[in-house]
Amino acid sequence: MRPIVQVRGLGKRYHLPRTRNNSPTVRDALVGAMKNFFGRLGGRNGEGADSFWALRDVNFDVHPGEVIGIIGPNGAGKSTLLKILSRITKPTEGKADIYGRVGSLLEVGTGFHPDLTGRENIFLNAAILGMKRTEVKRKFDEIIAFSEVEQFLDMQVKYYSSGMYLRLAFAVAVHLEPDVLILDEVLAVGDASFQTKCQEKMREVHSEGRTVFFVSHNMDAIQRICNRVLLINGGVLTEGRGVAATIAEYLGRNSSNQGPNSLRDEPSKTDLAVSAGSS
């Protein structure tokens, strides 16, 4: 059986802003270039000290139909991994091959325009996620039924509650029918009944042989939906024997450590001094 997602040696390095001002200007660039030039003349290398690896040497294969839960403390690299797989950001090293169409929902309501109606936003959001208009038309009734916002369909979405927003956004995303669906903790906003509905829908997606990546801090949901769990900590990916074992490992490690680690925590395998990849 061939994998649908193949990840090899994936790594992402971010540069920490040198100053508190994190939006660089042309002036900064010129000053920086001068400093770099003179620094190099003086035999010093300015590169390296201000960067960290959000993700390092990540390898895994995913087969069609797997529902992968990704767990780990805040800032561990979960979202970075999803962003690389969704092609929003590029890896610094390594590669990933995906043998199918990807649909991702990293945040609720991305691409929704407050001044357009719910109906118009369904089409807009679907287009942003890569869905054709004919496809949306075919699935329109299903999307509406799932989202339960039918009577507000012709109202501008700026008057929607956050729950309605979420329901509409999620409804569009799950009806995309991508081969690989990437969800980054977007369900937390919904109420209990909608969360249950989403989890049922995800199981349905799985039974159709499609693949789901699902980031969550809700271990109950992970345990219920996922048939495989990946643990990311400090940019390093590990996988225990089975869902329960990996969750137990995470919970155990988390309580023995001093809680969620920060962005600045160094990945255990990383030697920051030798970071000479592309920037």
Partner: protein, 284 residues
């Protein structure tokens, strides 16, 4: 255990998506852009809809902007400074150049901010980023078409007969759009990387207008400066745009220079844009 082996789903032999590290030195992935063509239409449609929904004046603003500028320049340059425009009434001379100029300047100014305005989407969804400035330029092009309609009564009022030269007008508009897109892509990409670019662009555009034959004829430029003057791609475009509308003589030389520069600007813009595109989500 995974039940995937029961499903018999057939996977393609080649990956649909290849994610690789490293930078690229390529032109825009046209196949990818084409795959997202529907998104492009939606972005244009959304902008048009939101604009005309919010203000009843929406459509009229589009005409008012070049019209008010025409009035201002007619009063100050036409009546007080008395700029001499041989064979063409000054108001018509102005409006026929303020039309392409307003389009160009608005297109560049709004594309330079377009990516930053869309940062929410850029950090959360993948699609070819070039669609954002391209949609902005297209919206401005539709403004241009609306403002152009007002030119017809103006031409009739001054009793100017259209000539065969009018058939070149669409080609000039195409070139103008490509130039606006090229300059817009450059400024949009630079503005993401260096935030002070956004504040410089309005100043540069102001300057650009005064080194272009918008409010004065290029015959007022000293002869020894003419060649240098024509290296401004808008000089050839605006002069010939006016000639095409009003039947005054074409200037093939300046148009040729302008066409070459347009191609250079557009190709370099696409390469630069593609190269920095991958970093947008990280630096925006």
């Amino acid at each position: 255990m995974s039940r995937s082996f029961q499903l018999g789903m057939s996977l393609p032999d080649e990956p649909l998506i290849r994610i690789r590290s490293g930078r690229v030195w390529t032109l825009i992935d046209l196949h990818d852009v084409w795959a997202h063509s529907e998104l492009f239409y939606f972005l244009v449609w959304r902008d048009l809809k939101v604009r005309y929904k919010q203000t009843i004046l929406g459509a009229s603003w589009v005409i008012l902007q070049p019209l008010l500028m025409t009035v201002i320049f007619v009063v100050f340059l036409g009546m007080i400074v008395r700029v001499y425009t041989p064979g063409v009434p000054y108001p018509l001379f102005l409006y026929s150049a303020l039309l392409p100029w307003t389009f160009f300047s608005n297109a560049v100014a709004s594309s330079s901010y377009s990516l930053i305005a869309a940062s929410q989407v850029i950090t959360k969804v993948y699609f070819p980023r070039v669609l954002i400035p391209a949609a902005v330029v297209t919206v401005r092009l539709s403004d241009f078409v609306i403002a152009f309609i007002f030119l017809i009564p103006l031409i009739a009022y001054y009793d100017v007969r259209p000539t065969w030269k009018l058939i070149f007008l669409p080609l000039l508009v195409v070139q103008l759009t490509l130039l606006a897109l090229g300059v817009g892509l450059w400024s949009a990409a630079l503005n993401v990387k260096y935030r002070d670019v956004g504040t410089i662009i309005p100043v540069l555009l102001q300057l650009w207008m005064f080194v272009s034959p918008v409010v004065y004829p290029s015959s007022m430029v000293p002869v020894r400066w003419r060649i240098v003057y024509n290296f401004n791609p808008l000089a050839g475009l605006i002069n010939n745009f006016r000639s095409s509308l009003l039947g005054t003589p074409f200037n093939g030389w300046s148009l040729a220079i302008s066409a070459v520069i347009t191609v250079v600007v557009l190709v370099s813009a696409v390469i630069v844009f593609r190269r920095v595109e991958d970093e947008f989500a990280d630096v925006i």
